[in-house]
């Protein structure tokens, strides 16, 4: 609470203009970087530096007008983009052309963002109902394992996806029981869910598949081929994406519609904002929260299923590697809104896609770039977003009268 008052003191709500200037500065900075990349490939850093300097200037102005966080972020982005632009003008055009193929970067971005989108939508629903779900990571991992296990056993990807979703839902039920009925501390029991998922999937995986690993011929979720490869940029970016990528994008819209445009969504939000008031008008707080948490587990498991039977085609112990936690950050950066969460997920997806591609420049620094998505998450959570306000009753157990 005091951190909240602290930040409020540091950045009093100012006029609109500094906010606009701050975001404009961010855009200018990105533009400065973009100039030096294909297809424009301006070979002199001068125009980029001018734009970046303008961005820094605007950022500093926003800073002095009271937009502390945004101003700082804009100024830092300006400096970073200037460095990036200089680096780009200094490196060979051939390398740049190989790294920066916008269409394939976009396709990779979508692929990397998909598991995050699924899990983040789950997080949005769960937290909108007032239950923090740190167990997203574990639910994803569970979905990833049981999807490939189910696909192997049932002999079809539909069966695999269903088994994965059910497994994620069951694990979410455990979280729901502890967090809602037993009024456990939601962060601690969500963390326990992660341990349980890690142990259980590892246990069943080793017991069932041993050291051979999952079978290479397990059924996979198919790709969707679209006859659009003649369209520049969009064609090559979108013509061969996995079915689940599209499902994720559609679900963003569906969840938005549900949360903000349906009576059930209103009930969900009211339970997350003020459960006592919701209860007095006859809404069953427990029921809504149970359903929301289970839905979040099912969604997170779909994200995991995409990893194992849509993307990587295998399962490894702890294969989610913190993606569930990045999804949590996506929820916060997206301010508990599905569409904004999609944007945030795309940003992380892009940083991951970039991390896969930049190694062209130097092999040994390739591993270091694996840290990029996590650094971006840190900066996003601490910087750009400004103070995001969770649903009022988020994380607070509710006791029936």
């Amino acid at each position: 609470m005091s951190a909240a008052t602290l930040t409020r003191r540091l950045s009093p709500a100012g006029a609109e203009r500094p906010v606009l200037a701050g975001w404009g500065a961010v855009v200018l900075a990105l533009l400065a970087f973009w100039l030096a990349l294909p297809p424009l490939l301006v070979r002199t850093p001068v125009p980029s530096l001018v734009l970046a300097a303008a961005a820094v200037g605007l950022g500093v102005w926003a800073l002095r007008e009271g937009q502390t966080r945004l101003g700082w972020s804009a100024a830092v982005t300006g400096v970073l983009c200037a460095i990036g632009a200089i680096a780009a003008t200094k490196s060979g055009e051939g390398n740049l052309d190989r790294v920066v193929i916008w269409s394939s970067l976009a396709a990779a971005m979508l692929r990397f963002a998909t598991p995050l989108v699924f899990a983040a939508l789950g997080g949005v629903i769960s937290e909108r109902s007032g239950v923090v779900n740190i167990g997203l990571e574990g639910m994803m991992l569970t979905g990833a394992f049981f999807a490939i296990y189910g696909a192997d056993v049932t002999g079809g990807w539909v069966g695999g996806l269903l088994v994965g979703m059910i497994a994620g839902g069951v694990l979410a039920l455990v979280h729901a029981f502890f967090a809602i009925s037993l009024r456990a501390d939601q962060i601690v029991c969500g963390f326990a869910i992660n341990f349980l998922a890690l142990g259980t999937t590892g246990y069943v995986f080793l017991q069932h598949y041993g050291s051979n690993g999952t079978p290479g011929d397990a059924p996979q979720v198919p790709d969707v081929s679209l006859p659009i490869d003649w369209i520049p940029f969009f064609g090559p970016a979108l013509d061969k994406l996995n079915l689940l990528v599209w499902v994720a994008l559609v679900l963003v819209f569906v969840v938005w519609l549900f949360v903000f445009r349906t009576p059930a969504g209103l009930r969900l939000r009211s339970v997350g904002e003020n459960p006592r008031a919701a209860a007095t008008v006859g809404i069953s707080v427990y029921k809504v929260r149970y359903l929301a948490v289970i839905a979040s587990g099912v969604l997170a498991a779909m994200g995991g299923a995409f990893l194992s039977i849509g993307f990587v085609h295998t399962f490894n112990q702890n294969m989610t590697a913190g993606r569930g936690f990045i999804a949590l950050a996506v929820v916060i950066v997206g301010k508990w809104r599905p569409v904004a969460a999609l944007a945030a997920a795309l940003m992380f997806g892009f940083s991951q896609a970039l991390a896969q591609r930049l190694p062209v420049f130097s092999d040994s620094s390739a591993t270091l770039l694996q840290a990029l998505p996590y650094v971006v998450t840190l900066i996003a959570v601490a910087g750009l977003v400004g103070r995001s306000t969770p649903p009022a009753a988020d994380g607070v157990p509710y006791a029936k009268e």
Binding site: M1, S2, A3, A4, T5, L6, T7, R69, V132, V174, F178, L182, R183, A184, D185, Q186, I187, V188, C189, A192, I193, N194, F195, L196, A197, L198, G199, T200, G202, Y203, L206, Q207, N274, N318, A321, G322, F325, I326, L328, A329, S364, T367, L368, Q370, A371, Y374, V375, T377, L378, V381, A382, G383, R387, P390, A392, A393, G395, V396, P397, A399
Partner: protein
């Protein structure tokens, strides 16, 4: 604690405090018993005998060394096993304290693993360079720098929380991954700290800590990974933790902020500054664990080990240690010993594959750990089952009210 609360993380410590302070020793014992019971069911489901399995794990931990009636031969083996158990207990005490101290200030430090890595990386760097420095100076330098590195890595999360209000749960996890990849890069092939002198230059491993900078072994054979003096550092850290928390201004401020940041601010305590200070201390504890592990028995770090420790390393187990130990000095000691014994007892080296496959047992440890944390999160279960009421009435009422 009713009505609209801020971000949940701010009140984790205060909400847990009712359970964590009350209930005496019986609650954690029951928690562990229930977790082991369910773990036994899992073993039985696999088709193995839970009793012989647990017996084998217990013997593998070397704790039977404490029994006066075992034969001299058994005592020999048990002694060797117990050395390994204590070797693993040492870092768990530190990381447990790193989590416990944060909990007392209302912070959930999931970054113990990253802070541990920070200490370990700096430790191996200092320990493997600076040849010819006197042993005492070399060890001291590595310890100090490693501790500082851990403190900085923890302090970042505290500072970010203080200045931007960012949730420490997220930032500490991200910091874990950042340093993990930094380590894999630095000690990997082509990395700046990759062992250039080793016999096989294709192995991604660091240089080994020089003989001079290794911690002396006081029990067992130094060639066979005997017990080094790090355990005494850990015991000293327990004392430091107690004094810091209960007898110092910083500890008082940390506890006050943990109870209620608003009330603490009203009383003139700067909550933001306290968060930073607390995370610095937590990071120092975890960082010291890393240095002591590297100077004590690991000596070199391979990138494989870094990646494998990502989710099951000492820093993570420290969370279960702190929760089971109820964030108290003695609690942390005994639960660190429990987990040290469990890990050693289920290790590939110590568990007879004929009784139970060790690689499954490693995951069994994770499941038991998860169950313990799960049960600790919901104090009602254990307390309701055994009609134990937390000693502090008002806090218990708060729990029910929230």
């Amino acid at each position: 604690m009713s009505g609209a609360e801020g971000p949940a993380s701010l009140t984790v410590g205060s909400r847990l405090s009712g359970y964590l302070r009350g209930g005496g020793i019986i609650t954690p014992l029951l928690t562990a018993l229930i977790a082991f019971f369910i773990g036994g069911l899992v073993v039985a489901l696999t088709g193995a005998n839970p009793f012989t399995t647990y017996k084998a794990i217990f013997d593998g931990s070397g704790l039977n060394w404490l029994f006066p009636w075992i034969s001299a031969d058994d005592r020999m083996t048990a002694g060797l096993n117990l050395q390994q158990t204590l070797l693993l207990t040492t870092p768990l005490i530190f990381t447990g304290l790193a989590v416990a101290y944060a909990f007392r200030a209302g912070l959930f430090n999931i970054g113990g693993q990253g802070q541990y890595f920070a200490g370990l990386f700096i430790g191996v760097w200092v320990g493997s360079s600076l040849h010819g420095l006197p042993a005492f100076l070399h060890i001291l330098l590595a310890l100090v720098l490693g501790t500082l590195a851990g403190a900085v890595w923890g302090g970042i999360a505290g500072f970010l929380k203080a200045t931007t209000g960012s949730n420490e749960v997220i930032t500490t996890i991200m910091l874990n991954y950042v340093i993990l990849w930094a380590g894999v890069w630095a000690f990997g092939l082509g990395g700046p700290l990759h062992s250039g002198s080793g016999s096989d230059k294709t192995v991604p491993i660091s240089d080994a800590v020089v003989q001079n900078a290794r911690l002396p072994v006081f029990w067992g054979d130094p060639e066979l990974q005997g017990l080094h003096i790090g355990i005494f550092f850990a015991l000293a850290a327990l004392v430091v933790f107690w004094v810091l928390l209960n007898r110092s201004v910083a500890g008082y401020e940390a506890r006050a902020v943990g109870f209620s940041p608003d009330a603490a601010e009203y009383g003139g305590i700067h909550a933001g500054r306290t968060y930073t200070k607390v995370m610095l201390v937590c990071g120092a504890f975890a960082g010291l664990a890393g240095v002591i592990d590297i100077l004590g028995w690991q000596f070199a770090v391979a990138t494989n080990d870094i990646q494998n420790a990502g989710a099951v390393g000492a820093g993570f187990i420290g969370i279960a240690v702190a929760l089971l130990g109820r964030n108290t000095t003695t609690g942390v000691f005994f639960s660190a010993l429990l987990f040290g014994a469990l890990i050693n007892g289920t290790s590939v080296r110590n568990l007879d594959p004929a009784v139970f496959p060790p690689e499954l047992a490693t995951n069994l440890t994770l499941i038991i750990q998860g169950l313990i944390v799960l049960l600790v999160s919901a104090p009602v279960i254990v307390t309701a089952m055994y009609k134990l009421r937390p000693r502090r009435g008002p806090l218990a009422e708060d729990e029910a009210d929230a």
